[in-house]
């Protein structure tokens, strides 16, 4: 539908209207940024004004109190390890299910797909007990294991659809050349799955990076906190201390916004690919 018609007066009016709508969309960010560098008194007297003086020390204090580097590295380690393992294990499982479509594997695939309907809140209460029993509680590794379980259904579903479109002849040729089934997957199939690998990694990274509830149930000690957990704890302590809370929020959203602006093309493609079948 994307038409290449000439740029007329009507289009110009639409453009102007949309720019205004876009600015309205950005107003919350204006408030956030402008007020994050105000002194507390300045902020209370008028939240819409440009800062009377720039208090950059707000950021320094928020950085120290939230222990931002710690929270950032926790979030980063958890997200990176989880997304890579989810993508790898899901690709392996989906590959086998497509290429060896036995009755057992068909049933297993149906279970994975059906599990996508289960809301997280329906399993979180007994999950706390299970993670406690097998000592996954309050450990970053334990949290990553939880993400492997929750991330598997959608990722397997996406890879399953994709593997079906990979021609099996290439694999047969590799087998004739003496490749073991494991080498076929690593050397032949896995490289071909790259577009879907990117999609799965992107979709899971946005989810895991921003997730609050699961980490809040699994992690306890302050040094394990992710960015959302650190922000939540900070808010409990400094309610209404906006001169500290706002810079903490800016720090909290900065990494994911930067990631989005850098990876925008892949994120948009990933969402489109992930939703067409979802």
């Amino acid at each position: 539908m994307e038409s290449g018609k000439k740029y007329g007066g009507r289009t110009f009016v639409t453009e102007v209207v949309m720019i205004i709508v876009g600015l309205v969309f950005l107003v919350p960010f204006y408030f956030l940024l402008v007020n994050s560098v105000k002194s507390f008194g300045d902020l209370l007297s008028n939240a819409a004004n440009w800062p009377a003086a720039f208090e950059w020390s707000n950021y320094q204090r928020a950085w120290e109190i939230t222990k931002f580097p710690q929270a950032f590295s926790n979030s980063f380690i958890i997200t990176a390890a989880s997304i890579l393992l989810i993508a790898l294990l899901s690709a392996m499982a989906a590959y086998r299910m497509v290429r060896h479509n036995s009755r057992f594997n068909k049933a297993l695939f149906m279970i994975f797909v059906a599990a996508m309907v289960i809301p997280f809140q329906s399993i979180m209460i007994p999950l706390v007990k299970v993670t406690g029993m097998i000592h996954l509680t309050d450990s970053i590794g334990g949290l990553i294991i939880c993400y492997l379980g929750f991330g598997a259904p959608l990722s397997i579903f996406l890879f399953h659809g994709f593997v079906k479109s990979v021609p099996v002849e290439i694999e047969e040729a590799a087998v004739v050349d003496g490749c073991s089934p494991y080498a076929v997957f690593w050397r032949v199939v896995f490289p071909l799955l790259k577009p879907m690998f990117v999609t799965v990694v992107i979709l899971n990274s946005l989810w895991i990076w921003n997730d609050y509830l699961l980490p809040s149930l699994v992690l306890q000690s302050a040094e394990h906190r992710t960015i959302p957990l650190a922000t939540y704890a900070f808010f409990g302590q400094y309610t209404k201390q906006w001169d500290l809370a706002l810079p903490a929020l800016v720090l909290g959203i900065a990494p994911i916004v930067a990631f989005f602006l850098a990876m925008q093309k892949y994120i948009i493609e990933g969402i489109t690919a992930g939703s067409v079948k979802g």
Binding site: T11, L32, H100, I125, K129, L148, D211, P228, F260
Partner: protein, 293 residues
């Protein structure tokens, strides 16, 4: 068994084993355990768990006063939220498939709120509602901004709706744009030559042809709004007076604040059934309306 059969077993374990193991441990076992616990008086602490039959469910239906208000709030929120975010997402997509000069920049702006997590967004908007809106109200004198935002039942409801739509419309816009880009040009041109107005083209050509995207977007929006938690927690915490407590938040508080794990799992089980039924109905209805090109 032959060597070949053993090799198949080995491959099955190697490829499917790990994913299935973690999935079973983290999803299947807790899910089944939850079904069991919903018939018990488990309190999360004591070692003994007694079977209480349907007590938890009768309590939810008869005595417990906060599940149905939460359910009603969630339903209202879902209906309003799904309609508004889809209308906005569709509208943005419709306009941003026109040859505007700043098209890509605008798409970026509208999508951006979506990459930020609900918890942080809720906190940001708390500030906007409390301080930002009153500043705008003082400057412009528009009464809308001087309402007691988040302070009473109605403004709290619409407050969460505003943030939800602001956060999710861009995501749906991306899906609608992908679908609209795939509508064949010749079909559109044929309709125009036949004298169809813009409204008629939209209603009788574009909408039927992008019905699969509508299915996906309705599905996503229902699932987000019905399971809303983060936004609810950070924006209102269910207040004032539990008037904006979603089912997800209600389940969470029942278990981890009131320590009634058995009752919490019973609510969680009902929640699962409701979500499953809605999903099935919704997929069936929209699939039947799809048009093949």
């Amino acid at each position: 068994m032959s060597r070949k059969a053993w090799s198949q077993v080995g491959q099955q374990l190697f490829f499917i084993g790990p994913a299935t193991f973690f999935f079973t441990l983290i999803v299947v076992i807790p899910f089944l355990l939850g079904m069991y616990y919903s018939f018990t008086d488990w309190n999360g602490v004591s070692g003994t768990v007694a079977w209480v039959g349907l007590d938890n469910f009768t309590q939810i239906f008869a005595k417990d006063s906060d599940f149905f208000p939460a359910f009603w709030f969630t339903t209202k929120f879902t209906i309003v939220g799904v309609v508004l975010t889809n209308l906005l997402g569709f509208g943005l997509a419709y306009v941003l498939t026109k040859p505007l000069k700043l098209r890509n920049a605008l798409r970026t702006i509208f999508f951006m709120p979506n990459v930020i997590g609900g918890l942080l967004l809720g906190f940001i908007w708390q500030f906007i509602f409390v301080k930002g809106f009153s500043a705008i109200g003082d400057a412009t004198g528009i009464g809308f901004f001087n309402l007691p935002w988040l302070g009473d039942e109605i403004t709290a409801f619409w407050g969460i709706i505003i943030v939800f739509v602001w956060q999710t419309a861009g995501y749906l816009m991306v899906i609608y744009i992908a679908a609209m880009t795939n509508v064949p040009k010749d079909v559109m041109e044929a309709a125009e030559i036949d004298g169809a107005t813009r409204g008629q083209v939209l209603r009788h050509v574009i909408v039927p042809l992008i019905m699969p995207a509508v299915t996906v977007c309705l599905f996503l929006a229902i699932s987000w709004s019905f399971k809303m938690f983060d936004l609810n927690l950070s924006l209102t915490k269910g207040g004032p007076f539990k008037s904006t407590e979603s089912v997800a938040l209600n389940i969470y508080l029942e278990a981890f604040q009131n320590n009634r794990y058995g009752l919490g799992t019973a609510k969680a089980f009902l929640f699962f059934i409701i979500v499953a039924v809605i999903t099935l109905i919704q997929v069936r209805i929209t699939k039947s309306k799809e048009v093949e090109v």
